[in-house]
């Protein structure tokens, strides 16, 4: 019972022990993640089937609209459905986690106002649901590659890097919006819109070769997700899929900078969340 556990509370005194606290609370992170996952499928008729149906249906619609109607070509040697589904897999992972993170503080407002733990646990735990969905979609993708008899390339070993990058990027954007969301409820309206626009701004339904040589190429590549999606595809579909490894450096640096800035912003605001909820 000796008081080895000493804390000091003061204004703006985001204690030096924050990261240690976060580590000590890792069990809570796990439990909150598990809660989100099990709550998600309770009281739904189709349960986990939703995670299979949604990406499949989106893919079919996209194949119909972009390939069949608009006659957009995929990279040579890559079946269009596979190109769409690979892009969709990683984009959905990004957009789901981004949305969940942005809403994480408000959704857990009952906790924020009644109990203390490092607030960063809420955005972190909200990633779990998106990740489970990602794994399911990824499984569907693998099945489809057998169906189209497209060989899995050796580059698949780089896949974890791109998943990590996606994670960093969604956390970077998500944390920033999570803080804004507490302050301004309008942000809640803005997020689905951003996600919708984002899907077209990123090479999900088309190959980014289409942007090559255009006047906006420079700006297009500033979007960190362009490099991530291209790279993710390259890992799965091999060299036939377009990927400019150069873009990876700017993507990684940019994502990290965004994450660090967002983290600083989040840390500065988290202790006053409760006053705005």
């Amino acid at each position: 019972m000796a008081g080895q556990h000493t804390i000091t509370i003061k204004a703006g005194g985001s204690e030096k022990d924050y990261w240690k606290d976060l580590w000590l609370n890792r069990q809570l992170l796990w439990i909150l993640s598990k809660r989100d996952i099990s709550v998600r499928y309770k009281q739904t008729l189709l349960g986990v089937a939703w995670s299979v149906l949604r990406p499949l249906a989106t893919m079919i619609v996209m194949v119909f609209v972009f390939s069949y109607l608009a006659k957009i070509k995929s990279d040579p040697g890559v079946p269009y459905p596979l190109m769409v589904l690979s892009g969709l897999t990683i984009w959905t992972f990004f957009s789901n986690t981004f949305t969940q993170i942005s809403n994480s503080i408000l959704i857990n407002s009952n906790l924020v106002s009644k109990v203390y733990f490092p607030r960063l646990l809420m955005p972190l735990s909200s990633i779990a649901v998106g990740f489970v969905d990602f794994l399911i979609t990824f499984g569907i993708f693998l099945l489809l590659t057998f169906f189209f008899r497209h060989p899995i390339s050796w580059q698949i070993v780089f896949l974890p890097c791109f998943i990590l990058l996606t994670f960093i990027t969604s956390l970077g954007f998500g944390l920033f919006f999570a803080v804004l969301n507490v302050r301004f409820r309008d942000i809640g309206q803005l997020i689905p819109f951003l996600v919708q626009v984002g899907m077209y701004a990123c090479p999900v339904a088309y190959s980014s070769t289409l942007a090559q040589g255009t006047w906006f190429e420079k700006y297009y590549n500033l979007n960190p997700l362009v490099g991530i999606i291209d790279g993710f595809r390259w890992c799965l579909l091999g060299d036939q899929a377009y990927f400019n490894p150069q873009s990876l450096y700017s993507t990684a640096v940019l994502s990290l900078i965004i994450l660090i800035l967002s983290l600083i912003y989040f840390r500065r605001k988290e202790n006053t969340f409760v006053d705005h909820i």
Partner: protein, 419 residues
């Protein structure tokens, strides 16, 4: 050795008079900024009417290990803000607190319970939220289930629980926390008497095992029973601290007894919200003799008036009467009726020879559709009832909350035979 040392703690809130609730929308910020740019000054209708409010002001104290501190004070005195700061839910504006030891706070029963999850799942979830490790929870799992009495419903989602079961489970988990410092806020306000006794017992165990307890309650009896020292807060300041009996006597004597009437002429500054506003609440005694005071014989009536601001509202009134130490004596409600916009009044008559002598606190609730509380006017009136006895030669304190005159007779049924 002090386990908590607080120096110059203050907490400031900004109250925005323009918006009653919620966060500012982006539009407010944008229009305000635009106005600032274009007119060169702040727009009066926008952001200007902000007022600082100090929920706590220059609070200093030191708590030793094993102390059981009761915190008393009126609503809005800063008690809850202090607990929130100690629990690290919000930061103080100035000052600092040093805490030695693992701290757990129970500001609500069943924090983070998810309605869709089963009792079992929620025990682990809530335990983790309150800071227990998985192995700690597993160790006390059976004890928790036993204490709450929910064995049969462990695998039922808690949304199917009765409110009593919900509260019991929530408290049971919290009761098995093993912190060095435990902070408890008014959790006894819920649950039935039996359960409250159980809770108090558990809290006594905690305090007797040498741990430190901070306890906020309106129930002075509970504070007296549990706490050896007390803090008395008024308007954000810690105005007195010391032994519990001393503090409670002080608190009771300082509180202005006899708030027999409250009224507001102007709807603008009347308490309430955009649905109802209070016009007046008064207690009218029907004095029985020339002495102008209320005693146990005096019938009194409560008259309440409010402005109803919603068209065709189904409203009823619900009145609570509390003892001064916070026990509820009764709760009465009117029938629910439909009212048009405008002034509405209610009246409740309390017969003489009903309440015992003492100090009483009345609160009045306006309820819509028999379930939604539109406004709760807490501690609205305070009144004293003096003692009065006839033909009695005993002057001890008359026991009980009420002192009704019932048909209670005594008679001789048989005479002993005289020989």
């Amino acid at each position: 050795m002090p386990v908590i040392v607080a120096e110059n703690i203050s907490k400031k809130y900004i109250i925005d008079h323009q918006r009653k609730t919620g966060s500012p929308s982006l539009r407010d910020i944008v229009t305000d900024t635009m106005n600032k740019w274009f007119s060169g000054k702040r727009n009066d209708a926008g952001f200007a009417e902000k007022e600082e409010f100090w929920a706590l002001r220059d609070v200093n104290f030191s708590i030793d290990q094993g102390d059981r501190i009761g915190i008393v004070g009126h609503n809005g005195a800063g008690k809850s803000t202090l607990l929130k700061i100690l629990s690290r839910i919000t930061e103080p504006t100035t000052g600092q607190i040093k805490i030695n030891g693992r701290i757990a706070s129970l500001l609500e029963v069943g924090t983070g319970f998810h309605p869709e999850l089963t009792g079992r799942e929620n025990i682990f979830l809530n335990g983790a939220i309150l800071g227990m490790s998985k192995s700690e929870i597993r160790q006390s799992f059976d004890a928790i289930v036993d204490f709450a009495g929910v064995e049969k419903f462990l695998d039922t989602p808690v949304k199917r629980y009765s409110s009593g079961m919900y509260v019991r489970l929530g408290f049971a988990i919290a009761a098995h926390l093993n912190p060095e410092i435990l902070i408890v806020d008014e959790v006894l306000a819920v649950g039935d008497t039996e359960f409250q006794k159980k809770c108090l017992g558990k809290m006594r165990d905690v305090s007797e095992s040498g741990r430190t307890l901070l306890f906020v309650s309106h129930n002075l009896t509970a504070i007296q029973a549990l706490c050896n020292k007390s803090f008395y807060f008024e308007k954000g300041r810690l105005i007195d601290q010391g032994e519990t009996t001393h503090i409670i006597t002080n608190y009771l004597s300082k509180v202005s007894h006899k708030m027999l009437e409250k009224h507001w002429d102007n709807i603008e500054n009347a308490p309430g919200n955009d649905q109802v506003r209070i016009k007046s609440f008064r207690l009218i005694p029907d004095y029985q003799d020339d002495l102008r005071h209320i005693d146990v014989r005096t019938p009194v009536s409560f008259e309440f008036e409010f402005w109803n601001l919603i068209e065709d509202a189904n409203l009823n009134l619900s009145m609570h009467l509390y003892t001064f130490t916070g026990e509820c004596i009764f709760n009465v409600g009117t029938q629910s009726e439909s009212f048009a916009k405008g002034l509405v009044s209610g009246k409740c008559e309390l017969p003489g020879n009903f309440l015992n002598d003492g100090s009483y606190v009345v609160s009045m609730m306006i309820v819509k559709d028999t379930s939604t509380v539109l406004y709760n006017m807490e501690e609205a009136l305070v009144f004293d009832i003096e003692d009065y006895r006839e033909n009695v030669t005993w002057y001890g304190k008359w026991p009980g909350y009420i002192r009704p005159q019932l048909n209670f007779s005594i008679r001789q049924i048989e005479h002993a035979v005289n020989d």
